[in-house]
Every structure is written in structure tokens, then in C-alpha cells.
Symmetry: C2
Subunit: 362 residues, 2 copies
DNA sequence: GATAATGGCGAGAACGTTCTCACATATGAG
DNA sequence: CTCATATGTGAGAACGTTCTCGCCATTATC
């Protein structure tokens, strides 16, 4: 009844008058046991309030039935949804979830991965914060740790991966704006990168139609690429003054660049934001400047946040299947943990353009 | 360099030419060791890519340096923020975080708690889904498991607890509406309860000014109580037709009741929503009915969600310190884990009314 | 009636750590 | 010189499970 203190298998065995081996068998459910002894053991376990110690079990089996996740920031709706997806399938399969935040910083990510590895998780789901320098992830793979990447890839790291088809999604969104008659379309993207001159070079190459290794690009660069492709396809020039780099994953930074964009001559008639945080920053800027959507500026966002549906006007946006992405990643990871050995898979999930009222026809 | 496969302390000891005891001492940092052997061991550990097995360590020390959390739903902004707060202090103290969702269902919560206990977490943070029936939590406490409750209390369970001062916060919000000249104020609250007749009885008692044991009330009931108190203080009658029960923690349910309220005679001039989900449901209803804030209806919400600041008009709301609540809970839990033994503490955090543009003066 | 296969059980060795000893050596005090 | 104290080391026992044996019955096979 009242589980006083911790009872072990040995205690249960003693109370039931059997060996620890037998008690272990019925409690662990892994060998032959007579109905009679089984009853005794179960009774004793019940009385003593026996609770198996997963630590000891894991130590010997080598399996913890725990998944590790290193997300960017749990508080961000994108990660929150992805995590919920992961959690759903983990729970359905009896797995626990060890969760950490990297804040998109490589050092914190390395630290997280180390913590999770020490705790002997059976597999790891990571949104890598650096698509180039990721020795810790390569090591993980070399040691045989099942690993699934979400949202981004790592150059040269052949592991399972699930992401949105960013280029196609962005291209569709921007072409939608062009089809509505817009010719000057701004884009606000995170676009972090060590080399600050990279944006111009990238623009030049993309506009020229040079082939670009897009797989290992950060999502915001991929979405920028989609933006450029849309322009190329529709025969529109890309004005570099309209490609805004926030430089960090922060709504404040986005607000600042959008504010500047809308208060200097040569304003766009439409704006494309490349993720939830950029969308929030843009909205703040527009509110501050008292600009009306879509009269003063049309808007298409990336990622469907709760408020976009009841905002007036409704915000047209590219909806990523966040929950499904998490679920898919978790499922793939569990398959690897079970030992299945296909070649590394990349699941590119389609995003859906949900049209609401934030785009004006010109 | 390249950590081929798992190296144990014994492997390192062998490579360094010392006993496992000595190797353990330098790697674990817990005894005397000469500088010379220390170097050898460290070198060997480096070469072999030694990574301590936290399972084995925990098994013998009895400490896992892992906190368990059972939240309602990670995807909900309230829980997402609280979790981030918990995560911040956990990380700063070198603790891992095992997270589960209860979806506010007792059965799932029991299951979660059992999982976390088996995994031998050092302590547990729970948002209990049932304030009365919680034997699993009583058991936990009886077994000496450090436990902190967030957002809600459990009748008769004397453990540390952190919550918002809901009654005071709601009272302040409603009085703000009354001061602005509103006389018919609606309230939308979750108000789940087994007995469906309870709302009327509760209303009758509260309006009469009968003393009510408010500590173990669900937050939505507490906020309703604050609403009633505000009316009493200001000498205003409470019209039961204006107290809306969504009945479940769902935006859809809230949308439905608000829709009905605003389309039947005797509409209120202001509305108070008691949590983020209710706010979202109310916003959907208002958008659907094309009602303008604050011209057609004034609004005060509970919990400051991202969009409320850039919505036009800005939404006046009661801001809970979600992050700080999580941090406080984690800090209290860590103190208990360290063995400090004050009597059970209740931390009631003040909420702040942030005034924006959703309240009209009548 | 011997041999083999099967069900049921217990002793004891794992798993990879930490921890308790006992013991060795060096240093300082009297 | 002797005793105490501090520093360093290794053997081996924990921790609470699972797993591999070997043993004993019982039943099936020829």
C-alpha cells in the first residue's frame, strides 16, 4: 500500500520466498515462471510498493528508453510544436524525453550533446546551430549514436533528417505576391553568418543563376534563395536594398530593419518574412509606424502562428507542419534505435500557403 | 582523438597503468591523486575518448542530477515559458530535464510521474491536473521525493508551490474595467469540474460573501472569484448570464461561448478572459463577428501573449511572470534536493496589469 | 528404459561507476 | 627515534538490475 522507502528486487524476492532471479523474471517479464511463484512475487511487490529502478536496468541492458533533444529555444512556438510532436511519439512508445536549449549557439549545443550522451540516451534529435563546424555530431555518428537532424543539415554529415522544403515554399509565396501585381517585394530574414560580405556575393551568384549547394544552407538562406528564384522565374530584378538581414534570431533586430526599410525612399509594396520571429518583428514595426495591412503594405509570413488567423486582416502565410515534423523525426529515430539500417534519409516536408487577407491586388 | 567505441574507467586505468580506483579518483575528482598519475590518466582518457557513464555513477551515488517536469502541454505558451525558466536554472546547475505532457488528464499525469520516478529523477515539478485526487503525489511526498507544484495547489498536500496571485490579479483587472465605466462585464473561464451544477452554487456563495477555501481552487475559479470580489467591492451585481464557462481548456470552446454571448440580447460592454487559450477563443469569435475592439467591446485578457503588444489596438492584459515562475520553482526544488528543510513554502507571484488600447472609457 | 527435450528455478557474474578499507610512504612534532 | 598526521594507492565491495549458467524435475521420443 504505502510504499515506505525504496524496495528492491531482492526485498521482493525475500518477502516472496524466492530467489532474486525468479523475482527478476516475473517483475521484468523475461523468462519462465510458474503461475504460483508469479502470484507470490506480484503480491510481495504490491505490498512493498516495489518500483523498478530504471537506472540499474539500463546499466545492464545498455538501453535507457530515453531520447535526447537539443532544440534552439523551447519557448519559441516553432520548437514548442516540434517538441510536442516528438513527445507524442516518444510517449506512445514508452520513451522519456531529455530536453535542452542551445539558443542557436554552438558552444551550448556541444555542451548539451555531451550531457545527453553521458546520460546514455538511446538517440538524439538535434537542430544543429552550425551547418559547417559540427565535430561533436560527426563523433556521435562515428560512435554509432542514432541521430536525426531537424530543420537544418550539416555539411558532410550523412544522417536522417527532416525539414521543410524551404526553397519551394518561399518561391511559391513570393510568386503569389508577384501574381498579385507586386513588383517591389521586401524580404526580412535572419541570415546570420560569420563573413558579413557574404550576402552580396550570395545575391550576385543566385541572381546570375549559378548553381548553389543549397542542401546545407541555413533555412533563412534557403528561403532567400526561393525569393530570388521567384524573381528569376517571373523575370523580375532583385533589388539588394529590399533584402533585409536581421543578423540575429531576434524580433527586435527584425523590427529595426523593417522600420528603416519603411521610412526610407524606395519602399516595397509587399513584404515577405522568413520565420515567426521575423514576422513578429515586422508586425511590431508596422504597428509602430501605423502602416495598414494590406493597404500600405502587403505581407506574407513564414510559419503559421496562432494569432495570424484572428488578426485583422488575417495574415497570409506559409504553414509548416511543425507537429508532423517532430513526429516524423521521432519515428525515424526510433527506427534507427531498433537497428534498422537504410541509407540516410532526408524527409522534405511540403509547406502549405494559406491565403488570408494580408495581400492586396495591385 | 576519434572515440572509437565506449571506453570505461577500467580501460583508461589499464592504458595509464594505474588501478581503476586511481583512475576513478582523477576522472571523478573525488580523492587524493599525485600530479604525475593524474596527467597519465587524463592523457589516457583523452586518447581513448573516455566519456563517463552517468547511469553507473547515478546508480551508486543515488543522485541523477536530473529534474522531472510534468507540464500540461509544452506547446502552450504558458507552459513553454515556465519550462524555459525551469530549464535556465537547471542548466546553470548542471541538471538535465526530463519533460512530459499530461494534457491536464489525471491518468496521463499518474503515468508520467511513474515514468519519471522509475528514471530516478532527483526531484519533480508538477502542474497537478486534479486538485483533489492526487494520491500519486501524496505517495511521492511520503517517499521523500522533492516536489514543487506550479500554478495550482493540491488539497492537503503540503509542499512547495509557486503560483500567480490570481484572485488579486483578476480583481484588479475587473476593477479597472469598472473604473472605466463598464457595468456589464463578461468573463470567459475554463471552469472544468465534475459536478456541473457547481458554478451556480459557487456564484451564489461568492456573491453572498461566504468565506471560500480559495487556496486549492483551480486558477480559473480563482480568477472568477476575483471577478466577483471586484463586483462586490464596487457594489455591482453579478449577472450569471455573463459568467461563461468554456468547460474545457480549448480555444474552440471559448470561441463558441463568446459567440453565443455576443449574439444574444443583453450583451456586455466589456469582456475578461481568464487565460491565453480563452483569449484566443474570444479573439476568434470577435473576428468572426466583425466586432471592433474597443468600440463594440472592451477587452482585458489574462497572460501577456506575444501578439497582444502589436495587435491593433494593443490588448490590455494581466501579465504573469511565467519565466520567473519556472525559475523560482526550479530554484526551490534544487534547495530541497540539497536537503534544506524549511516548512513548505508558497510563493504567490504578483501579476502586472499592462494597459494598452483595448479598454474604452464609457 | 535410456535419451532427449522442456519448464522452472537459483547461484553468481556481469554493467561502470563510487566508496570503504587497508596499507604504504612521507613529513613534522616531541 | 617514535609517534602522529597527511598524502597517495589498490583491492574489492557496493548499487539494483539482467543474463548466463547449471541443476533438477517432468514429459516426450524412440
Amino acid at each position: 500500500m504505502t510504499p515506505k522507502s525504496k524496495a528492491t528486487i531482492a526485498d521482493v524476492a525475500r518477502a516472496a520466498g524466492v530467489s532474486t532471479a525468479t523475482a527478476g523474471r516475473v517483475l521484468g517479464g523475461y523468462g519462465y515462471t510458474s503461475e504460483e511463484k508469479k502470484e507470490h512475487v506480484l503480491k510481495a511487490a504490491q505490498d512493498l510498493g516495489y518500483r523498478p529502478n530504471a537506472l540499474a536496468r539500463s546499466l545492464i541492458t545498455g538501453k535507457t528508453r530515453t531520447l535526447g533533444v537539443v532544440a534552439g529555444d523551447i519557448q519559441n512556438p516553432f520548437y514548442a510544436s516540434v517538441l510536442r510532436g516528438i513527445s507524442n511519439v516518444a510517449e506512445a512508445n514508452g520513451f522519456g524525453l531529455l530536453i535542452t536549449n542551445s539558443d542557436e549557439a554552438r558552444a551550448k549545443e556541444v555542451h548539451s550533446v555531451e550531457l545527453l550522451a553521458q546520460k546514455q540516451v538511446d538517440g538524439l534529435i538535434v537542430t544543429p546551430s552550425d551547418t559547417r563546424k559540427a565535430r561533436h555530431l560527426h563523433n556521435l555518428k562515428a560512435m554509432g549514436m542514432p541521430l536525426v537532424l531537424i530543420d537544418r543539415a550539416v555539411a558532410g554529415l550523412m544522417v536522417d533528417r527532416v525539414a521543410t522544403d524551404n526553397i519551394a515554399a518561399a518561391e511559391q509565396a513570393v510568386r503569389h505576391l508577384i501574381a498579385a501585381g507586386h513588383r517591389r517585394i521586401g524580404i526580412v530574414a535572419e541570415l546570420v553568418d560569420e563573413e558579413s560580405g557574404k550576402l552580396d556575393a550570395f545575391l550576385a551568384r543566385a541572381v546570375a543563376g549559378d548553381p548553389i549547394e543549397s542542401e546545407t544552407l541555413y533555412p533563412s538562406w534557403q528561403r532567400l534563395l526561393g525569393y530570388i528564384r521567384a524573381h528569376r522565374i517571373e523575370g523580375l530584378p532583385v533589388d539588394p536594398r529590399l533584402t533585409l538581414r536581421a543578423g540575429s534570431y531576434s524580433a527586435l533586430a527584425a523590427q529595426a530593419v523593417v522600420s528603416r526599410l519603411m521610412t526610407t525612399p524606395g519602399q516595397p509594396t509587399a513584404l515577405f518574412t522568413t520565420d515567426g520571429t521575423m514576422s513578429e518583428g515586422a508586425m511590431r514595426a508596422l504597428t509602430e509606424l501605423k502602416l495598414s495591412i494590406p493597404q500600405d503594405l502587403s505581407l506574407i509570413c513564414f510559419d503559421d502562428l496562432d494569432w495570424m488567423s484572428f488578426h485583422r486582416p488575417g495574415i497570409t502565410t506559409v504553414a509548416q507542419p511543425r507537429l508532423a515534423m517532430g513526429e516524423a523525426a521521432a519515428r525515424m529515430l526510433l527506427e534507427r534505435i531498433r537497428g534498422e539500417a537504410f541509407p540516410p534519409r532526408t524527409v522534405l516536408m511540403p509547406a502549405e500557403l494559406v491565403e488570408r487577407g494580408s495581400v492586396a491586388r495591385l
